[in-house]
């Protein structure tokens, strides 16, 4: 057996045995590339995802709400850090990853290209967007790449607070005045379908899914995740008397799952290819922050250099 196929065999054996692949292990080039794509996209999503929520920081209705939202956004920045660092173990630099985002070569979750129009949107984002992310992230705790799996364990520990604070906003609005309840319903109407889109195309049509499932980078199919999310979320809407905006939604006794309507895939493709309501704004804001922060990075590097020099004197 040649050395290359020997290495490949050992890699495949580890995957088959449900073992984790670690940074210094040999891995196929395509596996590495696939991971860099998925993990950096995940990292970018955490960071870009701060924008729609940050939009409401200065207008949160109470100091308590503001503190909670601030703490949640801070967690998301931390998630970005965990994920970027885990991606860097694959031999790519942070600078390359950020450049790929800025040049449009790397994506982030398309949901963050929707605007947060009212305070209820902050509730809907925590409840639905974090809720959908949790379904996905729980399954990724068993992903085959060790650093990614361990980052997911850390992240999942922090997520349930995110979803609960969002749901609590919805609960309060739903039991409030007619106008408040209407605001909550309107947020659910606008965020429901984009949340279902977060799970990606149908299994048969997903570009990277099949190989990712074989390599156990993905542990749950897009459609299974979506079903799971619908099943757990619909009763939560019922309890607070909000209506999920889907006329085809109904409990299917035989399947033991909810049936639900078809996603508007044209809209999905539009948003993914850069034509969502906020794509330009989100990326523009990220670039601007990056450029305006350049002097801080430069100053810190200069300070470290000076300190090292004086230490040697």
């Amino acid at each position: 057996m040649s050395e290359a196929s020997d290495l490949e065999q050992r890699f495949e054996d580890k995957i088959a045995a449900d073992e984790r692949i670690e940074p210094k292990d040999w891995m196929p080039d395509a596996y590495r590339k696939n991971l860099i794509r998925q993990m950096s996209q995940h990292a970018h999503s955490e960071v870009i995802g701060m924008q729609p929520e940050g939009n409401w920081l200065t207008r949160a209705p109470t100091l308590e709400r503001k503190s909670v939202l601030l703490a949640k956004i801070q967690d998301e920045a931390g998630h970005g850090l965990y994920l970027y660092s885990a991606t860097e173990t694959l031999g790519v630099t942070r600078e390359e990853l950020v450049a790929a985002l800025h040049e449009g070569r790397a994506k982030y979750a398309s949901i963050f290209n929707y605007p947060s129009l009212t305070w209820a949107d902050i509730g809907a984002i925590g409840w639905l967007v974090d809720g959908a992310a949790i379904v996905n992230q729980i399954s990724l705790q068993r992903t085959s790449y060790g650093p990614y799996a361990r980052a997911m364990v850390r992240i999942c520990k922090e997520e349930s607070f995110h979803q609960r604070q969002g749901y609590q906003i919805m609960v309060r609005l739903a039991e409030g005045s007619e106008a408040q309840k209407q605001m909550a319903q309107d947020a659910l109407n606008r965020w429901w379908w984009p949340s279902l889109m977060m799970f990606g195309p149908h299994d048969g049509e997903s570009a990277h899914s099949a190989q990712s499932m074989l390599w156990k980078i993905k542990r749950m199919s897009n459609d299974d995740g979506r079903q799971k999310f619908v099943d757990q979320t619909v009763p939560q809407a019922d309890i607070i008397d909000l209506t999920v905006p889907d006329p085809d939604l109904k409990w299917n006794e035989a399947r033991g799952h909810y049936d639900f309507g078809e996603i508007n895939w044209d809209e999905f493709m539009q948003v993914i290819s850069g034509n969502g309501p906020c794509n330009r704004q989100r990326l523009g804001q990220h670039k601007k922050a990056h450029e305006e922060g350049a002097w801080v990075r430069e100053a810190m590097a200069a300070y470290a250099k000076r300190k090292a020099e004086t230490a040697h004197d």
Partner: protein, 94 residues
């Protein structure tokens, strides 16, 4: 004067997929030797599947006196915990 043999900190991963955890330290002249000693000293009974060694002088540690500030944000920010939020009846896990 005798030359001091550098000190290394040893981290062991007990099972694939888990974090490396600090298990102790040892003296060695270089990293290669440190890895060899670590294997002999710390995983004689299959305690691990991977070792990291780091020269001790490269470890920068926080100060004991900083500890209070580590707990601070937890004590006055209970809303960072999921249990801070009461769920309506009928919603069990979230």
């Amino acid at each position: 004067m005798t030359e001091v043999t550098p000190l290394f900190e040893v981290f062991v991963r007990s099972r694939r997929g888990l974090d490396h955890i600090h298990v102790g330290s040892l003296h060695a002249h270089d990293a290669e030797q440190a890895l060899e000693y670590a294997r002999e000293s710390y995983i004689r009974r299959g305690e691990g599947v991977s070792i990291w060694v780091v020269e001790s002088r490269h470890i920068h540690a926080s100060q004991e006196s900083d500890v209070e500030s580590f707990y601070d944000p937890m004590d006055d920010k209970p809303y960072r915990h999921a249990t801070h939020y009461e769920l309506p009846e009928g919603v069990d896990n979230m």
